[in-house]
């Protein structure tokens, strides 16, 4: 917990006064075809030159940035200058006005979202993203509309405020620039750098190695970062055999605040379930990713949010042309690798509506978000939650046409902020550490486990053994030993500080004394790694199988009796992500081995889900007419090693009755119409899944 919410601190090795030169390339309104959600009235009044000057002035006030004057910002700079130079570009990704009719007033919520990217203009690598949504509330007499002058003024004021606040947040959250000496070349050609985690270096970081004249000698990526030193892959260079010791490896824009010992996170995807998301509320995925990134970064700065996977994707071809080399494709494979990726899906987005007794139409706008945090190396789900947001709207008969699209955006952003708050309060990964105490004759391993985390049965770990020693070149003092991957192992069971494990495949080094460090959850040992293998919704009301799978996964994760491995599709996505985003460039295959793939991720148990949702029937509830619903869910657990061997099974039925509204009352009840049946069942399934899993967990022997 503390690891997540701890505010970033200044790093020890980076000089506090370091300023990086920054060139503000552009400040534009994001086009609609790129996911921009801007009111045409905003675009008309947006003067890029003036806005860019305003943003430039706001950034110039920050101590960490040395802004290049707008008139002198040609991209034609000396190569040596590139070592301490980053680029920035900003987009207005959203600008709109939501009208809210209240009893005595009509209120207008004017919102603008600005996203600022700091990037390497030569490679396209995105170092940091800061996004913020600002809003202004304007209150008028009931029914009165905003004049066009008021709209323009409100947009201008809101945008100015958003830019101001955005710059303020950057002050603490982005500390650009890392420069560390190469202190040793390892026997296999890899390089050891004279600073580690505390200087902001993390696995996957891309560094340029330069000589004393500032000339580029090679490019390296960090493979492992330890406390006092870091190891990079073999440098990509015209002359790899040249002497490297004494040169400086640097990155002008790498964010040092993301290099603390806490875990790092990256938003990977925000899906929209087509079955339960009304077409009118489908938004561009990149936009959703940025919003979730913004919400998590705002709510829990300690999450160390790395630029999301979509980073860099907003630029148009024209923007790319402006970047010095235009090699947008180089963004791939150049990322700092996060510890966790965040996957989300919008499980419902709709407006339930009903005509009220006063002739007005009442809407309840709803959005539901399933969010999960997956270990990027094993794929394991570490945290899963579901957050639902609602917003009420009312339109008097014949009064106006309601555009719920803008209301939905505000609702979604509020709901994502709620996700952020929930994550900050509940999500608490810790480290589990240990060593191999004994290698038994049958090849199985006895582990000694320390740390607060508990290892799930079936969980996968990488074992490390000591490799070459790294010494300080001046004092010759030992800084530590390079860690070498020795084997991947699967935990069979943990019993207090002792655990049993089996190796996966062949080990490449002797395993006695080998160590492991892995993210883990706090809780009872003996949790079993389970994967939802199959979901079957039998005849009746159709609730999407993918949604039911997500619901069951959340229930299993929240039960604290199971650790959850996502389904093969998600694992394949994660593996593809590794290939596409993290594994390219000079990253060695050995380091890539640490990442999960579909072949080596295997659960201890498979879960099979069977469900049936009966069509609603008429019933009575306390003498009132009602609609009755019945959901039945069964969960079958079988051994992953032998799928014919059942581990446990259980099934429950849940009956709910919804009283119909009394006629003539000033009461409107929404959500009972025929098209809402699946949504009701989705809600019931969340409850039922929890109780089924709880009951089943109680009957299951631990560490089986």
């Amino acid at each position: 917990m503390a690891a997540v919410v701890t505010a970033p601190r200044a790093t020890a090795q980076a000089p506090a006064g370091t300023r990086v030169r920054c060139q503000l390339l552009s400040f534009r309104v994001l086009q609609a075809d790129k996911g921009g959600l801007t009111d045409p009235r905003f675009a008309q009044g947006f003067d890029e030159t003036a806005q860019r000057a305003g943003l430039h002035a706001a950034l110039a006030a920050l101590p960490q940035l040395d802004m290049i004057a707008p008139g002198a910002d040609t991209a034609l700079v000396a190569r040596s200058d590139m070592a301490s130079r980053i680029a920035a570009r900003a987009f207005v990704t959203r600008a709109d006005v939501e009208r809210v009719d209240k009893a005595l007033t009509t209120e207008f919520l004017v919102s603008t979202t600005v996203m600022l990217e700091f990037l390497n203009a030569a490679s396209g690598e995105v170092y940091h993203i800061q996004a913020l949504t600002g809003s202004t509330n304007i209150r008028k007499d009931a029914g009165a509309d905003l004049t066009s002058a008021e709209v323009s003024q409100a947009f201008a004021a809101t945008l100015a405020g958003t830019v101001r606040e955005l710059a303020g947040r950057l002050r603490d959250r982005y500390r650009p620039g890392v420069a560390v000496p190469v202190i040793q070349q390892l026997a296999d050609g890899r390089l050891a750098l004279g600073a580690g985690l505390s200087s902001g270096l993390r696995e996957g970081a891309r560094l340029e190695v330069r000589d004393s004249a500032g000339q580029l000698a090679g490019i390296v990526r960090v493979e492992q970062a330890q406390r006092t030193f870091a190891v990079t892959g073999r440098p990509l260079a015209d002359n790899p055999n040249r002497p490297w010791i004494g040169l400086t490896a640097s990155s002008p824009g790498l964010n040092r605040t993301a290099g603390q010992s806490a875990f790092t996170h990256m938003v990977m995807s925000v899906e929209q379930r087509s079955e339960l998301v009304q077409q009118a509320y489908v938004l561009p995925q990149a936009t959703l990713i940025y919003w979730l990134h913004e919400s998590l970064a705002e709510a829990a700065p300690g999450l160390n949010m790395l630029p999301p996977v979509a980073a860099g994707g907003l630029a148009s071809d024209q923007d790319r042309m402006e970047i010095a080399t235009g090699r947008a494709g180089d963004i791939a494979g150049q990322r700092v690798i996060p510890d966790f990726v965040v996957r989300a899906s919008i499980s419902r987005a709709d407006a339930l509506s009903e005509l009220g007794p006063d002739g007005a139409t009442y809407y309840i706008l709803k959005v539901g978000l399933d969010v999960s945090f997956n270990d990027v190396r094993t794929g394991q789900v570490f945290y899963a939650t579901y957050v639902e947001g609602t917003q009420q709207e009312r339109v008097r008969a014949g009064e106006r046409t309601l555009d719920l699209a803008v209301s939905y955006r505000n609702l979604l952003q509020r709901t994502m902020a709620e996700v952020g708050r929930k994550v900050a309060a509940e999500y608490a990964p810790v480290n589990a550490e240990g060593t191999v105490r004994e290698v038994r004759a049958d090849g199985s391993l006895a582990l000694a486990v320390t740390g607060a985390g508990a290892l799930p049965s079936g969980g996968i770990l990488t074992l490390w053994t000591d490799g070459e020693e790294v010494r300080d070149p001046r004092t010759h003092a030992a800084l530590g030993r390079v860690q070498e991957a020795a084997a991947r192992i699967r935990v069979v069971r943990q019993n207090g500080p002792a655990a049993d494990a089996l190796t996966i495949g062949r080990s490449v080094r002797p395993l006695a004394g080998a160590r492991f460090v892995a993210p883990a959850t706090v809780g009872d040992a003996g949790r079993q790694l389970v994967q939802v293998q199959r979901v079957e919704v039998r005849e009746g009301v159709a609730v999407p199988g993918a949604l039911l799978e997500e619901i069951m996964q959340s229930a299993l994760t929240s039960s604290r009796r199971f650790a959850v491995l996502p389904g093969p599709d998600v694992l394949a996505d994660l593996a593809a992500l590794r290939e596409r985003e993290f594994g390219g460039g000079g990253f060695s295959s050995q380091a890539a081995q640490r990442l999960v793939n579909v072949e080596n991720a295997q659960p201890a148990l498979f879960a099979r889900v069977v469900a049936r949702f009966l069509a609603p029937v008429a019933a009575q509830e306390e003498g009132r007419p009602a609609q009755a619903y019945e959901a039945r869910i069964g969960l079958f657990l079988v051994s992953a090693a032998d799928t014919t061997r059942p581990a446990s099974s259980g099934a429950q039925s849940l009956q709910s009755r919804f009283a119909l509204p009394r006629g003539g009352r000033r009461e409107v009840v929404v959500g009972l119409s025929a098209q809402d049946v699946a949504k009701i069942y989705a809600g019931m399934s969340r409850r039922l899944a929890t109780t089924v899993v709880e009951t089943l967990a109680g009957t299951l022997p631990q560490g089986r």
């Binding site: 006063d358 009442y362 099934a651 039925s653 009956q655 000033r666 009461e667 009840v669 009972l672």
Partner: protein, 242 residues
């Protein structure tokens, strides 16, 4: 009540004051009868008729004022000015108008209020504090008026027969002519007018009540909620029975 009783009393006082001794000599029986008035039964009957008419008049006045208040909530500025004038003279006009006029007014007001209620014009109003207080008073007054009207209707139906019988029984005796005429008027005009007017007035009272409900509701949010369920505890079932 007062308006009906006072003229009768004045009449009695005028008769007493204008009776010279000579007249007493010339028509002693008539004078004696005039002094003593009609029989106690007829007196009680007349008092009941007066009190029934008073109730009806009171109900009428309350309804007219209430309906004007309710119309004021939805009316235009011109109509509001007109209503202010009407309100100021409502009681006087009532006294001048008589039952037929009242009946017509009640019909008018009821129609206007019903239309406004149906079109949900009251729903659009945001009431001032004063208007809210007025609407509350109008609701109470119209309810009171309905009660008074109902009592007046019952009494009137009963009194019509009694007044007719009493008028016939009094015969053509000159000394009783004035009372017989009053009873005949009551039985043939005043009481039937009440019987005819009350249903319209009750309709007006209902229209005022409906309009007031809608007007009051305009300041309250309609309760909107998503369907909430009463859920039984989960029941264990056979997994194979799904």
């Amino acid at each position: 009540m007062t308006r009906s009783i006072v003229p009768a009393a004045l009449l009695a006082v005028a008769c007493l004051g204008a009776a010279p001794a000579a007249a007493q000599i010339r028509v002693p029986r008539a004078v004696n009868r005039a002094i003593s008035g009609p029989s106690p039964e007829i007196q009680r009957l007349l008092a009941r008729i007066d009190s029934t008419r008073a109730r009806f008049d009171r109900a009428t006045a309350l309804l007219v004022t209430s309906s004007l208040v309710m119309e004021g909530v939805v009316s235009t500025a011109d109509r509001k000015a007109e209503i202010r004038r009407e309100l100021a003279s409502a009681n006087e006009r009532e006294q001048r108008g008589g039952e037929n006029r009242v009946e017509l007014n009640a019909e008018d007001h009821a129609t206007r209020l019903e239309a406004a209620t149906q079109q949900r014009q009251f729903e659009h109003q945001q009431l001032s504090q004063e208007q809210s207080a007025n609407v509350n008073a109008a609701t109470f007054n119209s309810a009171l008026a309905a009660l008074l009207d109902a009592m007046a209707l019952n009494d009137a139906r009963q009194l019509i027969g009694e007044a007719q019988s009493a008028a016939s029984a009094m015969g053509s005796e000159p000394a009783n002519a004035v009372y017989a005429q009053r009873l005949t008027n009551a039985a043939t005009q005043q009481l039937p007018a009440i019987v005819n007017a009350v249903p319209t007035q009750l309709r007006l009272a209902a229209a005022i009540k409906a309009a007031a409900q809608q007007a009051r509701a305009s300041n309250q949010a309609v309760q909107v909620s998503e369907a909430t369920a009463v859920t039984d505890p989960p029941r264990r079932i056979d997994p194979n029975a799904i």
